[in-house]
């Protein structure tokens, strides 16, 4: 199944490619789930993968190849939850529509570390809080999260969790 776009539309899309963010490229909303990302990517690939478009003129093939490369670039970043979040932040901070995969990966890695805590004590109190959250003992969880935050005052993830726990107590 090749692209169903008209030739002029393919060329137009290829020219616009630097303006589109990864969600726009794959026709996804910003909060799309990983399985939606995958489905959208498979759908777009059926249309734009070079293998499906060899019958086109050289000119159009080049345009299709540009699109194919960029949708794969988008997929590589969006297919992983951590990278997906990092990209969203990158977009919202106005850092442009492209994000290097390695950058996204590194950012996702930093978040994973942050989530568990960077200091031994932070991690220890967070782990307690996590267990209490699972038991839905929000008051105890809030206490331990607060303690964790005394060791890591700028841990955004801890802060968000604390806010949530406090809301649940009310």
């Amino acid at each position: 199944m090749a692209s169903e776009l008209a030739p002029t539309e393919i060329v137009a899309l290829a020219r616009l490619i630097d303006e589109l963010d990864y969600y726009q490229l794959l026709h996804l909303r910003r909060g799309a789930s990983i399985s939606e990302v995958k489905q959208a990517y498979h759908f777009s690939s059926r249309a734009f993968h070079p293998d499906a478009n060899r019958h086109l003129s050289a000119n159009l093939q080049a345009a299709v190849a540009t699109i194919a490369r960029r949708i794969t670039e988008a997929y590589s970043v969006l297919r992983d939850p951590g990278r997906n979040k990092a990209y969203l932040q990158h977009l919202e901070a106005g850092h442009g529509v492209r994000m290097q995969l390695s950058e996204a990966r590194a950012e996702a890695g930093r978040r994973a570390v942050e989530q568990k805590g960077r200091t031994p004590q932070g991690r220890q109190y967070y782990n307690l809080a996590e267990a209490e959250l699972r038991r839905e003992d929000f008051a105890a969880a809030a206490r331990n999260l607060q303690t964790a935050l005394t060791f890591e005052p700028d841990n955004e993830f801890f802060k968000a969790q604390l806010k949530e726990a406090r809301e649940k107590i009310r």
């Binding site: 690939s45 070079p50 293998d51 060899r54 190849a65 490369r69 670039e73 997929y75 590589s76 492209r98």
Partner: protein, 607 residues
């Protein structure tokens, strides 16, 4: 529209399949075999032999019989792999002008691309004979773990062979395609491919006709050849201990032992014990020496234990990169002749925790899948879409010689990634970029793909110019680099300052040469046919003269005998034109004679 073929260009064996009527079929060669040894030999009389006939004469012509050239393709002469290869190869491996490993045969050096092209040509001829018209369009497979220069070199080999290479695809991916075609089930596969020279492991997910490779790993220098060498060394050591003779310097003996080692390895896949018998392997003052020994499977498994251990870590890494636990793999598929070895199969079971699928032909499935991909590329199969990955990370050298990754391994291709470069000094107009491929931390430990200069940067204070370099990997896994000045939006000039392999020009001249060779080969074949015809004509004319001695006039007889003499003399020479002239003369005379005989005697026959 011409038919498309798939070629599995193996280290040890090659295989060709054609895509027709919606299916792929493996094609047998003229000798009737469905795979062809990847061996090219140059005989003392200057003839070039490819395949089984080259293999058959290896013992008597070891220096000029080139095998396993795939282990050299796209590699530098100074690399460890090439050093290892040279220490065992009976033929000479030389360094080419650009540092690549080439082979030396008599007074001519051949690039591995050229030797591979000869094998590809043979496969092409096999297919053309079967189809009944020349084929051009082809999909060629390479090990998944091949790097950019090995892929490009393989592509160049195809060009030299006069083929239109539609696509280079990965061997395990091709196998998966053949395995999963027409299968509506969604599943996760592990393809384990251990061949004569290389080891690949790929993890794929098949869903609704989309074949998505999740990860791949492997070792491009681990295969049956290494197993054979272990056996070979063992036999050599044993012989030396027993007879005090080192056979390592005797190329012919070495070749015999190598072949016997491979045979023993095969036999030990189904037997517990096998005899190796090589009479007259050497001689000393006391007379001829014979090599006789027995090898058990147990001993073999002890010899190859380290090699088998090397299969484990690539599999683990592939699972990890795919983000899957081994329990999530639905099928493990075995590809490559070496997976017939019981110890290899046991290792697979140990790694994946399940018995492999036994339903596929490990020698043919790769070529078959390549032909299917050919069908996809020609638009004859529309249900299938292959999404492969790049096996190795792509990066650039940054401060302090560190390799900074730009596209990481196991990223789906075709893909691109942008990286912004700037200047480090005021008014700098040139920025150099060193592109590398590999997983090591330091750029120097990885493979250089190329060096580029961004030239003609407008003068500006340092750090101001913003040049976005786009690194692209196309669907063949081949890397391209382009650049754009973000300030002006214009494309930025790039100058390639170093790259490996053959240049466009080299390839073109090799194509011409190959074509000339084709002409020369054709001429030689014509001459052989002409000689046969001449011999036959001389024979039948003499018989006729004998039989109808009374009916032929003395005059005619004299003429005929003279023509026979001339033909006999000409058959010994190499001049096709002269031979044709005398053959024509003789056949005209013979025709005249038989016509007369028919007129005189024919009346009796027709009644």
């Amino acid at each position: 529209m011409g038919k498309v073929i798939g070629i599995d260009l193996g280290t040890t064996n090659s295989c060709v399949a054609v895509f027709e009527n919606g299916e792929s079929h493996v094609i047998a060669n003229t000798e009737g075999a469905r795979t062809t040894p990847s061996i090219v030999a140059f005989t003392p009389s200057g003839e070039k032999l490819v395949g089984q006939i080259a293999k058959r004469q290896a013992v008597t012509n070891p220096e000029n019989t080139i095998f396993a050239v795939k282990r050299l393709i796209g590699r530098k002469h100074d690399s460890d792999e090439v050093k290892r290869f040279s220490s065992f190869a009976p033929f000479k491996v030389e360094k080419s002008e650009n540092g690549d490993a080439w082979v030396q045969v008599k007074d001519r050096a051949y690039s591995p691309q050229e030797i591979s092209a000869m094998i590809l040509s043979k496969m092409k001829d096999t297919a053309s004979d079967y189809i009944g018209e020349p084929v051009e369009d082809v999909v060629v497979t390479v090990p998944a773990y091949f790097d950019d220069s090995q892929r490009q070199a393989t592509q160049d080999a195809g060009k030299i062979a006069g083929l239109n290479v539609l696509r280079i695809i990965n061997e395990p991916t091709a196998a998966a395609l053949s395995f999963g075609l027409g299968d509506s089930q969604n599943r996760k596969l592990a393809v384990f491919d251990l061949g004569g020279g290389t080891f690949d492991i790929s993890i794929l997910e098949i869903a609704n006709g989309v074949f998505e490779v999740r990860s791949t790993n492997g070792d491009t220098y681990l295969g049956g050849e290494d197993f054979d060498q272990e056996i070979c060394s063992h036999i050599l050591n044993e012989f030396k201990a027993e007879h005090g003779l080192d056979l390592r310097t005797d190329k012919m003996a070495l070749q015999r032992i190598k072949e016997a080692s491979e045979r023993a390895k095969h036999e030990l896949s189904s037997c517990e014990e096998t005899d190796v018998n090589l009479p007259f392997i050497a001689a000393d003052e006391s007379g001829p020496k014979h090599l006789t020994t027995t090898l058990t499977r147990e001993k073999l498994e002890e010899l190859v234990r380290d090699l088998v251990e090397r299969l484990v870590s690539p599999c683990k890494l592939a699972l990890e990169d795919a983000g899957l636990r081994r329990e999530e793999i639905d099928e493990v598929i075995l590809v490559g002749g070496m997976t017939r070895m019981p110890i290899v199969e046991r290792k697979v079971v140990e790694i994946f925790g399940k018995a492999p699928n036994k339903g596929v032909n490990p020698d043919e499935i790769v070529a078959s899948g390549a032909a299917i991909q050919g069908g996809v590329l020609k638009g004859e199969v529309s249900s299938v879409l292959l999404l492969d990955v790049t096996p190795l990370s792509l990066g650039v050298e940054t401060q302090g010689g560190v390799a900074t990754k730009i596209i990481e391994r196991n990223t789906t291709i075709p893909t691109s990634s942008g990286q912004v470069f700037s200047t480090t000094e005021d008014d700098q107009t040139v920025v150099s970029i060193h592109v590398v491929q590999g997983e090591r931390e330091m750029a120097a430990d990885n493979k250089t793909l190329g060096r580029f200069d961004l030239v003609g940067i407008p003068t500006a204070p340092r750090g101001v110019p913003q040049i976005e370099v786009s690194f692209e990997i196309d669907a063949d896994g081949v890397v391209n680099v382009s650049a754009k000045d973000l300030g002006s939006g214009k494309s930025q000039a790039i100058r390639v300052t170093a790259s490996g392999g053959l240049s466009e020009q080299d390839i073109e001249s090799l194509v011409t040469e190959a074509e000339q060779h084709t002409q020369a080969d054709r001429d030689r074949r014509d001459l052989v046919e002409l000689r046969n015809k001449a011999d036959g004509l001389v024979y039948s004319t003499e018989r006729t003269l004998e039989e109808f001695a009374e009916n032929v006039t003395a005059e005619d007889r004299k003429q005929l005998e003279a023509a026979i003499e001339k033909t006999r003399a000409s058959v010994k020479g190499d001049d096709a034109v002269a031979l044709r002239a005398v053959v024509d003369e003789l056949s005209a005379l013979t025709y005249k004679m038989t016509e007369q005989l028919y007129a005189e005697l024919g009346g009796d026959d027709t009644e």
